[in-house]
Symmetry: C2
Subunit: 374 residues, 2 copies
């Protein structure tokens, strides 16, 4: 194996590939980046227990002297390439299993891993992928993944449920204290699907989607989902098991509706959260819709002090006075997902789940369970 | 106590005062900020085991209704003031030991600490302070403090030794593996001094000096040193004990001198450091001045690989070929302290301390002990 390539092109692709590198693994070969060099193409493969990435480079800066395949220790390789001077990097195999890297005035040899040890990874593509705008995919991930469960005692809740069902794609995440749901319209000719993608995989996928290409193709299989994005194949395992049926959790009628300026509400809750009692891990604040249609956000910690924030709704609220207590973190997390400047907070009762919707965010619902106090 | 003040003015001063707040302390009153309100002046005092800060505010936005003094839980107060809306903040004492804070649409009560518990702190000023440009003080701290010892087994080495001796001020730090020395000229009418200031105190002082006022006055006393900087008094305890006599550690004659472009040398060592053997905590690289006047920076890790970097000196080196091994971290730390684009690296022998000096950094010497290899 012997080739030269632009440093910038190599580095940019390595930065994508390294997102699937294992750092701690009992299998040292998973700490490696597999390079396959063909006459006009460089392929990089990385994989860990959740995701696998395959990149195909056919860059004009690629000049191949000798084809071959190698397995390079990932962490050192990426750091070295990042720090090298020079516009062009030359890589070649010398001796047995030693990689020689030459760039600028640097001359580096790197002991390689044994490429024979690397498992074969199937990147499962099919003929009828779902085509979706990548900015839509990004917003689905941003608006739901944060609500997945961080604890593993119900593994299925660590993932985001994605269903295609007729003309709708529904993405749902819940940790059983809150729920995020995003619905978008899709073409009618799609196969139905119902899968649960690990939240951690989506956290990595969204970083790659920052490349801002036009669209992403979704290839669905029995055990895995593959996102095709430009020259990148990003494959994630799926979670086994049935995602809970959540459709009946979201109330349909709301006797109490308050419309807020999102930022006014956010800063009031954020301030109140500072002093709220830390008995539970999340700090609890209260919302009080008064008889005079004013709203107070309050918190109270006997040891530290008390905050009372006045927030003026942007319209006369609908419904009767209500007092409701909730996790400030869950409320702030939810507010951050809206693009709208104005949001509706909708209640059915003081101890019933309530929802937040955005004036300009069709299809997005954030549901939060209140907390009982006193 | 009852007053109003501009939020911005209050916050900016709190951000200085909080640098002396104790976070973990057996004495809860040291987690407090003491406010003393006089008719035309607000004084803030904070203190921990190393440093004490006193700020005097006579801002035109300060309007005092009632004088008094209080002790406020520091962490909550700073965070609250940071997050408040509104340009003006009103603070008053209500009930017994409860502070009321009103700003914008926020109404906050904060339980205070008992101001009677707060110790009296003497800020020791004298009549003949040393006057020094604050940018000079900043460079003294930046160029020496990093070389103090981080471990406490010889406490005196955790500080920077500052001596005034005739017309010279000498600042020295050493962890016994490297030494930084900065010498500046000072007026001749100064009292001699010889003190050791905790490195941690200087790390906080330098943040405050970012305010970029013209000059700083240094008041020296038996047990403490006080820096007067605008409306800020910053006092640090001094370390007890004798700082080691280091003047004979720095060689006077150097048979081998190599002049480098600082950046070329830095990136070469930085790359070599990536692959060097991690047997010791710091990664070791080698410098080799060849017969043909070229210089190689190399590192070698049997498990990982090998780096050879060619660095061209900017002038023909003086002296004979040399091979010397050193901690890459110490060398890079030292290089960062120079303003010069070109530096001299001066050797007396392969196992003798070597020094780095900058073409445009008079008075600054960085000394490093080499490492024996093989």
């Amino acid at each position: 194996m012997n080739f030269t390539i632009s440093k910038e092109v190599l580095l940019n692709n390595l930065l994508v590939a390294q997102k699937a590198l294992s750092t701690k693994t009992p299998a040292p070969y998973l700490q490696g980046i597999k390079l396959e060099i063909y006459q006009n193409e460089l392929i990089m493969i990385t994989s860990n227990s959740d995701i696998s990435i395959k990149l195909s480079l056919k860059d004009e800066s690629l000049h191949v002297e000798a084809v071959g395949e190698v397995l390079i220790p990932g962490k050192y390789f990426v750091e070295l390439i990042r720090k090298l001077d020079g516009e062009v990097i030359s890589l070649s195999v010398v001796d047995d299993n030693v990689l020689k890297i030459v760039a600028g005035k640097s001359d580096i040899t790197l002991n390689m891993l044994n490429v024979e040890d690397y498992p074969h990874i199937d990147f499962m593509m099919n003929d009828n992928p779902i085509k979706i705008e990548s900015k839509v995919m990004k917003s689905i991930i941003k608006q739901t993944t944060f609500a997945t469960s961080a604890i593993e005692n119900r593994p299925i809740l660590t993932g985001v449920n994605i269903r295609v069902d007729g003309e709708r794609l529904v993405a749902i995440a819940t940790d059983s204290f809150r729920l995020s749901q995003k619905v978008i319209d899709v073409p009618t000719n799609l196969d139905n699907m119902n899968v649960v993608i690990p939240g951690r995989s989506l956290d990595e996928l969204i970083k790659i989607l920052e490349l801002n290409l036009e669209e992403v193709l979704i290839h669905l299989n029995h055990k895995s989902i593959l996102f095709e994005y430009g020259n990148i194949l990003f494959q994630s395992r799926l979670l086994d098991g049935n995602f809970p049926e959540t459709s009946r959790l979201i109330p349909v009628e709301f006797p109490i509706v308050i419309k807020f300026n999102k930022n006014d509400l956010f800063v009031a809750i954020d301030r109140a959260a500072l002093l709220s009692s830390r008995e539970t891990s999340a700090s609890i604040v209260k919302l009080y819709l008064r008889n005079d249609n004013g709203v107070e956000i309050t918190s109270n910690s006997p040891e530290i002090g008390k905050v009372v924030e006045e927030v003026q709704p942007v319209e006369k609220p609908i419904g009767v006075p209500i007092r409701i207590a909730f996790s400030s973190k869950y409320f702030l997390d939810a507010l951050k997902t809206f693009n709208s400047d104005q949001v509706y907070v909708k209640f059915t009762g003081e101890i019933r789940p309530f929802v937040i919707e955005g004036e300009l965010d069709p299809g997005l619902v954030q549901l939060i369970l209140p907390v009982r106090t006193e």
